[in-house]
Amino acid sequence: MKFKNYVIVVVLLMIVSCKHEIESPSWTVDVVVPIAKTELKLTDLLKDSEVDLDTNSNDELLLVYRLNPIDTNLNDLFADGNLGFTKTEIIPILEFEIPDININFEASLALIIKGTPLETILVQDTTVDLSITYNIPSKDFNMDAIPNFNELEIESGLIEIKITNNLPTAIDGLSMILKNQDPNSLFLNDDIISIPNSGTIQLNMGDSTSLVDNLSNVFFTNLLQLAVGSFSFLPNPVPTTIDTASGIKFDIFIYDIVVSRIQGVIESPIPLDSTRGETYINIQGLDITKAKIDSGSININLNTLLDMPLQLNFYSPNLVPDDTISITVTGGSGTSSIDLSGKEITFDGKNNDTINTFYYELFGFIPPTTIHYDASVNDEVEYEITVYIKPKYVIANVDEVIIEIAKDTFEFDFFKDLEVGSNFSVESAKITLGIENSIGVGCSYDLNVSSENSVDGNSAFTGINNTIASASFNQFTEIVTPTYAEVEFDNIENIINIKPDLITIDGEVTLNSGIDNFIVYDKGISIAPNIEVPLSFIASNLVLSDTADIELLTEISNATLTLIIDNGYPLNTQVQVVFLDENYIELETKVHSIPSGKISGDGRIYEPTRSLMTISIAEENIENIKYVNYIASFETSSQTVYNKIYSDYTIAVQIIAKYKSTIGE
């Protein structure tokens, strides 16, 4: 029993003695975590530059400096009316014909014997014979108005008068004058023609006679009169029934009338004198045979005293299509235009057998009217014809034409932010010209490329020249197929090695001679120069410096930041990083060396070199740091062999943070 009790007590004491104060555990861990990464390439250094990066067939990086394209065309040759002309001329009005005039008039017995002793003898419906000769005194007989004109000045014409004796006896000694009535005595001379022009007329009863005579420069009104002189009734022993309505019938027919003036309705068109002209296109170096017109017009400006509508017809065999173009102008002054857009002009003259020549004809007329107008050969029409043409394209025979390329200067800013030590040279450089020729003629060019370093005053020069093939043109679709060419000119490293800040190009383009070449307006030759510099260079003390904003991690007070830099470039680099406050005052400075990547026997980087840069910033400075200035000094890994930079080269940079964290507190 005692033994058992002893054992039980011991066990209980042991259990109670295990009492221990329990505290929550805490511990510290060391953490490493990558924070951020980036890859730096040359493009990052060149981001503010005009330089692009490209690769060649060997994957070597090229610096490509694209200069502004040089554009030249032949528009100047066609500018300001070189394809247009102006001409002024006067168109006279010619004599013109009018329709024949027919006048039928019968002087009745009643009118003839009125006031004579026969008035009581020859009574209507009586049968009378005349035994003696009776004398009829002179008398004027007015005719009815002739329609369609008021006045005529007849240059020439013919008048035929047929006289028929419808009297009851024969007559003798008949003569008369055809004259204008002129009731208001406006005209000096009213006589038109004497009938007959000499002697007198004898007519038996029932007989007729016709007389024809010329009219020349006579004045007609539409109111005519027959002034019949005294004549005799011859005896008629045969009793005759008297009809006092019949008498002497006059049928007057005026025909082949050429008028120099008319006042009245114009029944037939009155032609104006036509005009013809030729004008010559004179563009130096080009003999134009054909032009397709983009826009243009023929403007005709008229000035005349005629106050009636005029119609002018413009025709040119050089205009395609060669329809006659009619223009109607109301008299006085006026302008009318012929739109030439979309038409073609062949500059081959009237008979299509020459060059640079535009032939045209202009003829007009006064169209028939129903309104009375006054037209005379004394009137004339003055016209001014102005042709303006903007071509879409021209077909021409080209003589040697030289186009000057004005000097163009380009800023070359590659070296602007890069301090380049004295030991800098590139292995090679070339200029590549991308040429697009939209002219239908081959040409050659001569360019002068020069560079200038405005700081130290050095300059370098090189000349380049070559030829350019002609473009092709489909006249049906009017589509130009340009010729493209890329031409390289090597060995211009002298231009780059002076570290220029300006590059200048000028020169000239010479068109080759040729026949039937096309030149399209607004299209010409475009030359795009690119300077390519393979990144194969030797350099030491190549310095790149920049200041940037920075935002530091606020929780890195107990952390160490490490930059892991994997350098895949053949450049040894010294980096100095200076942390600045808001007033650009230096707070901390870190220096680090980044060795070049590992280079194989063929000169390529086969493995980047890793370096670690630890950044420990004092806690009191972290919040004050606002800017970081870095100065990177580069040196190629070899100072004797050119170091090529390939497209797959990069510098990878990572930020790693190491810090202690306490868990459980």
């Binding site: 033994f3 058992k4 054992v7 039980i8 066990v11 042991m14 259990i15 295990c18 221990h20 329990i22 505290e23 929550s24 555990p25 805490s26 511990w27 510290t28 861990v29 060391d30 953490v31 490493v32 975590v33 990558p34 924070i35 951020a36 990464k37 980036t38 940037a548 904003d549 920075i550 935002e551 530091l552 991690l553 606020t554 929780e555 490490t562 892991i564 890793r610 670690l612 970081v628 940079v653 990572q654 930020i655 790693i656 943070a657 190491k658 202690k660 964290s661």
Partner: protein
Amino acid sequence: MKRHILIFGCIFLLNSTVYAQGNSTAITDAIPEQTNNFKGDKKERKFRFTIESGSIIENTSLDYRLFTTGNIDEYKQTISDGLLEQNILSIRSKTGVSFSKKAFANKIGFSLGFYDRTEVDFGFSKDLFNLVFFGNEMFMGKQINLNNTYLSATKFQQINIALSRIIQLSNANQYIPSQIEVGLGYSYLIGNSHVDFSTKDSYIEIGNDGEYINTNLNFIANIADTNELNLFGSQGSGYALDLLLNLKKEENNIHFSIADLGNINWNKNAVNYSSQKEISFSGLEIDNLLTINDSLIQVQLDSLADINYVKKGSEFRTYLPTTYHLAYKRDLNINRYFLQNFDYIVVGRIGKHRKGLIPANFKPQYYVGTHFSYKGLHLRTSYSVGGYSKSAWQMELGQNILWQHFQLVLGTYHFGSIFKGINSSNADFYFSLNFFFGKKV
């Protein structure tokens, strides 16, 4: 169907019964891997009622200073040095009551018990420990092995019924045992909650200079009852079988048993998570290194936590770790002073195996033990190596009281931990209170 056949078979098992009496109950022990199921052949009372409880925390190397002494930076290196490549922390508890009748004279013995059990296994690699307690900086240029990291935590109730019988055989042949004891047990398991997690082919790789963190994470996780966490709610059910075979020939006894051969089906609000993801992180890719700030870092760290798992509600099954026990006992009949109280010595081997994705990771345990009794005092002790700890010294004391109707048993499998205090890796305690009644058989 198979389950029903098994139950009827147990009921119709004929002849003698075995009533495991003394310091521990029949077949199912107070703590499943209790090493010694052997009792003396002394007459004992027919019936027994037991109240028992025990908890154990075992691991191979972890030190409890890790959890109890505040800042552990001073100790963690020592602990790390003692870790194996693959380690396990096991926590088990069992509390319950049982009633049993001893098998004797060709009568079948039986027992009926009700227990509340908790089983937690956490397997981890040394690398994982170092990652958690030292950080990842030490792994620069190396790979952190996360393979076979797992956690299995199950809380369940067990209703156990067991039958046993002792069969007497002819003693004529010296190789044939004179007595065979067979026993069969069936348990109905009520699952309360479960969570498990296991990885496969997972690792974290850190760059030589810390420039990258690559993670390959393949895991499967199951959780039962995510909506209502109820300690005694039923979220699943299952069964377990036990088997007992004892062979006796004179003073020699061979014991073989299988315990906890079974599973639980979780079918209420069960959720399965899986992920197979590779994450490679080398920092935020930015144009300007000079503009990184805290918010950017947080975004990146948050993205690392984006595991992108697949979640689906689906039933799943978990398995109990099955214990396999083989032992040899030699009854002692020493008539010398004080040594006459030593009843037997026993040597044995215990193994565990768990089916499914989460292994038992139980190193075969070998033990040697003895039993001392003097009047009403019982002392059982054994020393073992293997299992969930490196070694264990069991000490159990039992005292019969009140005319041997009651017995109080107190014990621990890691008696040495008492002296190590917080420096120990293991801790456990168990007790049982037995009430014996009925005539002695």
